[in-house]
């Protein structure tokens, strides 16, 4: 049977009726209609689906959508301020941290979560924080550089 749930995604409330076994990823991509978050694996190893739940990163492919009701969900679509890219988004482009772009939404979410908790991470801390986001194109170096630069730009 379906359950009525209100999901708050990027500050907008969505009333949806969903079966309880549905993943947050599936509901956000289908009922909510935001396809920025990606499905890249079956075992929560790749991180392409990552979203923030009350500011904390979760793999939305293995999180039940019903459990997210009443919590603030942030997806990659919620990172920019209107047409103004968030610093991480801009720096990913400037540093060449984007190639095919499929891991990018999850990477940006992971990096956003890291910088909200640690405003001056070391390179090793950045690399460990991004450990759950697999990228096959870039070799990670330019992504790590972008995150380090974004940390430098954070207001002191």
């Amino acid at each position: 049977m379906t359950y009525p749930v209100t999901l708050s995604v990027n500050g907008i409330a969505y009333d949806v009726a969903i079966e309880p076994h549905r993943s947050l990823l599936s509901v956000v991509r289908t009922e909510v209609g935001l396809t920025g978050s990606k499905e890249g694996c079956d075992d929560s190893e790749c991180g392409a689906c990552m979203m923030l739940l009350d500011g904390q990163p979760v793999n939305s492919c293995s999180y039940l959508a019903v459990q997210a009701s009443g919590r603030e969900i942030t997806t990659v679509e919620g990172l920019a301020n209107g047409d103004d890219l968030a610093p991480l988004q801009r720096l990913f482009l400037e540093e060449g941290g984007v190639q095919c772009g499929f891991c990018t939404p999850g990477m940006l979410i992971s990096a956003t979560a890291l910088l909200s908790q640690n405003s001056s991470p070391s390179e090793d801390e950045v690399r460990l924080a991004l450990g759950g986001n697999l990228c096959r194109c870039t070799g990670y170096g330019n992504i790590v550089k972008a995150v380090m630069r974004a940390a430098d730009e954070l207001p002191a």
Binding site: R29, L34, T35, G36, S37, K38, E39, G40, C41, D42, D43, E45, C46, A48, T75, V76, E77, L79, A80, L85, Q89, R90, F92, L93, E94, G96, V98, Q99, C100, G101, F102, C103, T104, P105, L108, D124, V126, R127, L128, L130, G131, G132, N133, L134, C135, R136, C137, T138, G139, Y140, G141, N142, I143, V144
Partner: protein, 756 residues
Amino acid sequence: MSTVVGKATIRADGVEKVTGTGRYTADLNLTGQLHAKFRYADHTHATITRIDASKARALRGVHAVITHEDVPDQKYGGMVQDRRLFAKEKVRWEGDVVAAVAAVTPEIAEEAASLIEVDYELLPPVVDFEASMAEGALLIHEDWESDSGDESMGRDRNTLGYSTIVKGDAGAAMAGADVVVRNRYVSDCSQGVPIEPRAVIAQWQGGKVTVWTSTQVPYAARAGVAHTLQVPESNVRIVVPLLGGGFGAKCDFHFEGHIAALARAARRPVKLVFSRREEFVAIGHRREGIVIEVETGASRDGTLVARRARLVLDKGAYCGEGGFFAQMAAMHACGPYKIENVSVESYLNYSNTQPSSSIRAPTAPQVCWALEQHMDELARALDLDPVDLRRKTLIEDGAEGPTRQVFENLAMKETLEQAVELIGYGQELPEDEAIGVACGWWPCFGAASGAYVNLNPDGTATIVTGAQENGTGAVMALPILAAEQLGLQPEDFSLLYQDTDAAPSDMGSCGSQTTFNSGRAVVEASIDLREQLLDAASSELEVDRGDLELVDGAVRVKGAPDKAVTIADLAGSGTTFHGKGSGDVPEAPACETEGCVGLLGNESFLSPQLITHAAHVKVDRGTGVVRVLRVAAAHDCGTIVNPIGANGQVTGGVVMGVGQALSESTQIDENGRQRNPFLLDYKLVTAADAPQIDIAWVETMTPNAGPKGSKGVGEPPCVATAGAIANAITKVIGRPVRRLPMTPERVWAATFGEEE
């Protein structure tokens, strides 16, 4: 002097990718769309005796179930046509598709697929691809002789391809050599693993089908649909939304035919999205396992007098587009070295496992890994430093290749010097650390391509190209080439691409060929447009066109920049300006192939890309765990058009090479099934494990190169990494690791076990 070539530019598809607004195939949905699931083979080698889909068809929500009976009886394949969309008499590997279902939800489609009854007579799976070529071995394709294909393949029963490279008299030279070293190496098969699992949507409107698909090769996909469904190519349109990586795994025609057939049967749009498990198991596209036996004779001073090698490659169940592997592997068993006498033979054998097809520089990383370890073993036997041995033996201008191709303007040795300098070769290191070096090469592939450059009335322009962007940025860099010809900026161009109805046929994103071939076409089309603009400006300004130049968005008189007309004014004048071009495909370099068989076009290397990697590693001797601390990568890829893109290819390729070296292996069970089709157990390198990478480009003007003297960039970066890591590991543990990947267990076994 160019104002745009070689400058860092931000990719045009960047904003949509960082904001999540870009659409990949799986992000699309069509009104009335159904969902597809496949019924795969239940056995890896069996004769099909009965297929009954009646229960599946009766399931509520199912709109179509199709098998081989519902499509034309057409075989397909690259160099050999040995495969059908749907298995007919036999299944030959676990991913063979027996039937396809379209239903209103993926869950119903899945259930219906499981309700299809398929009866089999089991056959013993042929998993050992060395044994499969033995006399009397069970045939995987009984009717191999009737399969149409390239006559020069050297097919013989379970051997799909046989190639040799013969130069001089290797036997006599080996017998007379001061030192002879002989080794055997074995590489597991592995995978491309794009992070986007593939997706296909097909919709028929009248007699014409549009297929949105995550392919690297839209024109090959179009040809595949047209051939297997027996419709003209003009009735098939392939559109590729954003492509989430490929690395070769999305080369070749794959599932577009199945889904187009399903959509036609269901009279509805049909969507297929693969799970990660399917992306491992069901695609006919992995990196091949290889057994590599190599023997080299050298004189005391290090001169290579003879090379013999025998290679056996695992083709898996079908040819796909990997028919050329035997010859390609043979060329890599020679490597970028001066060798006086050569005798290499190379077999490409069928087995009841997943088909092998091009994954980023097919055959090269494995053979290079073996050969470069072998070169280090030879250096030890000669009591020479491995770098000194390479200094003496690598090719240089005027040197002769394994088929007597004569090389000009190449910087193989310079890449060696740059790499060893970058890494600090010879420095004092702790006893658990070492530096290893490996060299390799990879050819450019000449192919036809065509482009249009259309000037818009406001003076901006649109490039129409058949090139396919797989993430590398190669297509994103095409405006750089056009801008330079037209005195515009890269931002002045939009791209119409990844739509087979828009642009002339193109090879797609494979063979590192986009800049090389599609770039050439864009340059030619831009020159055509430039000529039209010069003609128009010449009339407008009443100046001889020889005195005009295109600079900063205007056509102006040389030496009198005030006398000018802007391109925007010309564009808005009511005349239509549209350039088109293709350019001449560079010819393969001359070579001598007397005595060689299995000639498939790789017997000489066009504009070879040259590679030296040096790896600094740390080995935990107790556990065999290897950490790669740093890699220095020096490449001769000719002129670098787009530094962000080129550097990104190296960093990504090296990290893929680290994975190949240490952890990436598809394990096969005794029946030919994959044992680890998940990302937890097929281990990609993570951000935490990726090494620091230092890059050097040695830019040369190689004859027959691409635009501006460019060569390919995409594939070479993963070729030499595993070899460099292997040689570093051997220095720490004192023994070679002759299995790839060099997992902790294998390193540990090499350290403490009996020497092989």
